[in-house]
């Protein structure tokens, strides 16, 4: 194709918080391809745009970096791609280096490092609107002369704010002159600033004022608690009608397809009981995940997230974590999948791994149906001390049990780790910004895409496998027990019963655990199936209340605090860590914790009630 010959391949580089991603979105709009770099879990974003002349550009958004002397996997990629050393990536024709015009003391040093690479490049002085508001004056021709590369002004969050950059890229870029950059880049930056930039104040007054409240030891923690509370409220109450809508929609379409397949009972069962029930059970969490990410992205764009990490760092450090672990763990209360995805913002690989390993201990919303069933069936609805509801207290205790054990596990991981070298915080607190709706919308679209791809791929396949296990072989002639009892899953359930009898699980629970592996809350519907097909007519809650002992119910609750029974989470861990070993470690330790907790709960409850 003649077009591809003329396409100029550009790489976008810059310090973290320079507005690089906003500029990328401004340039490419929705035309982006998101993937991972070969062999690593660093996100690779590529897009296209064209100049008014018709010339087209291919733009690669490289991870933000403070230095090309890489200190993190992200920075290694930025360096190697710029140098053309990264396997599978061709060296860019030119580099667009982005610098925040209000933060040049830090960002110009990186520009000088990039300039040393000797490739054609343009400097985009971004956030010029904020710089003008703060009275910062930059003599662009002088800066251009000092740097020896073209310099253009951009405002990534304004319509047409990158027009000058596009116009400059459309013209021939000058060959790179020989630079006599000395070893002291800092001195060079100081000289340039003294010569070309006048700055009335080192920081924005508004940032100082906001930080006095947000980082205040008392007010700051209070505000953080309020924000967390609001997020929780939104995730659980705003999402409810949407989740009901998805459930009803999936059920409706399932029933409609089912009617169409009425002549083929086997296929009908696969589609309706397998695919629609299984995938629908996971899809229903999409609204919660999107609302959660809406808040996280808005907090991230605004510059608040590093502040939250600042406030909580000391607390998390005691457990062997970092302040940066806080948001991923908070997300995991909705679902461990977005939580584990959010650990990408943790730079230290050890801290990131620990956070991933304990994320499933945060009580995700998929456990709520199980908790709700058992609490309603076994815990009397009475008040204690006049103000607390006993059922509420039990639910709260289950949440706390998860958090406390997560901190315990993190602490043990810290003890066991061989590499005891210091973990760094070293975190920039960027200027506050009003989040741009376009950037949040694009971010949400990416998250939804990742989630839906997973639903369509691994979760769909696992659902079909589980359906097969639960449906074959079919019940023999004249069978009295439910069909699932004769299936592979039923046989597996009976085997499992031998293992789970000491913790008080009956065979019905064991069978329900098998399909519950696909999605935790499916265990409830499976229990309903097992009992319904056994000829029980009453509701599940009544059956459970009359047939199970309290010790069994408590044991199952304890099991669900820990149980690693979510294949989607394990698949996410595999993807994010690129390692089966971590998947096995996680499965193993969660299973052991679950078993021990249930064993203790069951035996103690029996001893006490006897």
């Amino acid at each position: 194709m003649s077009e591809s010959v003329a396409t100029l391949r550009l790489a976008l580089v810059g310090n973290p918080n320079c507005g690089k991603t906003a500029l990328f979105n401004q340039l490419t709009g929705g035309r982006q391809k998101v993937a991972n770099y070969a062999g690593v879990t660093v996100e690779r974003k590529e897009g296209r745009f064209s100049a008014p002349s018709g010339r087209s550009f291919q733009l690669l958004d490289l991870p933000g970096a403070y230095s090309l002397e890489a200190a993190s996997p992200d920075e290694v990629i930025t360096r190697d791609v710029c140098l053309g050393h990264f396997p599978g990536e061709t060296a860019p024709d030119a580099i667009v280096c982005v610098a925040d015009a209000t933060n040049l003391r830090l960002h110009l040093r990186f520009v000088l490092e990039v300039r040393r690479l000797g490739r054609p490049m343009v400097l985009a002085l971004n956030m010029m609107d904020a710089a003008r508001r703060r009275g910062i004056r930059i003599d662009v021709p002088k800066l251009e002369a000092a740097l020896g590369i073209p310099v253009v002004e951009t405002v990534a969050v304004q319509r047409g704010g990158a027009a000058d950059l596009i116009a400059r890229l459309d013209r021939e870029l000058p060959a790179v002159a020989e630079f006599k950059s000395g070893n002291d880049l800092h001195a060079e930056v100081r000289a340039m600033l003294a010569d070309a930039v006048s700055m009335p104040r080192r920081t924005a007054e508004i940032d100082d004022a906001i930080d006095r409240i947000v980082l205040h030891p008392m007010l700051g923690l209070g505000l953080l608690a309020v924000i967390m509370f609001l997020i929780f409220q939104a995730v659980f109450s705003w999402a409810a009608p949407l989740m009901e809508g998805i459930e009803a929609g999936v059920a409706f379409v399932g029933a409609w397809v089912g009617t169409g397949l009425a002549s083929m009972p086997m296929l009908r069962s696969l589609v309706v009981d397998g695919i629609f029930a299984g995938v629908g059970g996971v899809l229903v969490f999409l609204p919660q995940i999107l609302i959660l990410f809406l808040f996280i992205l808005a907090l991230e764009e605004s510059g608040y997230l590093p502040r939250a990490a600042f406030l909580l760092d000391r607390l998390m450090l005691k457990a062997g974590l970092t302040g940066r672990s806080f948001i991923p763990l908070l997300s995991s209360f909705a679902c461990a999948i977005p939580g584990i995805m959010a650990t990408r913002s943790i730079q230290d690989p050890r801290d990131r791994l620990t956070t991933i390993l304990i994320a499933p201990l945060m009580t995700c919303s998929a456990r709520l149906p199980v908790y709700a069933l058992l609490i309603a069936a076994f815990i009397p609805d009475r008040s204690i001390a006049g103000i607390f509801n006993l059922q509420g207290v039990v639910l709260f205790t289950l949440y706390v049990a998860g958090i406390v054990s997560a901190l315990g596990v993190a602490w043990v991981i810290k003890l066991l780790r061989r590499d005891k070298s210091e973990h760094a915080l070293l975190m920039e607190l960027p200027s506050y910004r009003i989040p741009h709706p376009r950037d949040i919308a694009i971010g949400l679209w990416e998250r939804a895409n990742i989630f839906l791809k997973r639903v369509g791929g691994i979760i769909l396949s696992l659902t079909i496998i589980l359906w097969f296990l639960s449906s074959f072989p079919g019940a023999p002639e004249g069978a009295t027990e439910p069909a699932i009892n004769y299936s592979f899953a039923g046989t597996l359930g009976h085997w499992l019963h031998a293992v789970f009898a000491p913790i008080g699980f009956n065979w019905q629970i064991c069978i329900a655990l098998v399909p519950g592996i696909a999605a935790r809350e499916v265990a409830v519907s499976s229990l309903a199936t097992v009992y319904a097909l056994s000829g029980h007519e009453e509701g599940l809650q009544a059956i459970v209340a009359s047939q199970w002992s309290l010790a069994t119910a408590l044991s199952l609750l304890a099991w669900y605090v820990f149980a690693p029974m979510c294949l989607s989470t394990l698949a996410t861990v595999r993807r994010e860590t690129n390692s089966w070993r971590q998947v096995w470690i996680m499965t193993g330790y969660l299973f052991a914790l679950a078993y021990v907790a249930s064993l203790l709960t069951y035996q103690i409850a029996r001893a006490v009630s006897a």
């Binding site: 403070y66 930080d211 980082l215």
Partner: protein, 79 residues
């Protein structure tokens, strides 16, 4: 004096960043951030628990540094 000992709200000038180990990556990163000789620095605030981490202004940027990290930075307080 070390940056970790600077009173809240005080200004100082960086002397140097000490390596705690051979090729200390944290010290190197601090230098990248602009903690180099002659650079004015200010201790803006402290974390709510155990007065850790520290909120430090260097150049036009604010960083959160744990005490152990800030202790690598040797400073000269300005009167």
């Amino acid at each position: 004096m070390r940056l970790s000992e600077l009173p809240q709200g005080s200004d100082a000038v960086v002397q140097e960043v000490e390596n705690m180990s051979e090729g200390d990556p944290i010290a190197r990163r601090l230098r990248d951030y602009g903690f180099v000789r002659g650079e004015p620095v200010r201790l803006v605030g402290r974390g709510p628990i155990g007065a850790d981490p520290l909120l430090v202004q260097i150049g036009f940027t604010r960083f959160a540094l744990r005490r152990a990290e800030a202790a690598r930075v040797i400073i000269e307080p300005t009167a």
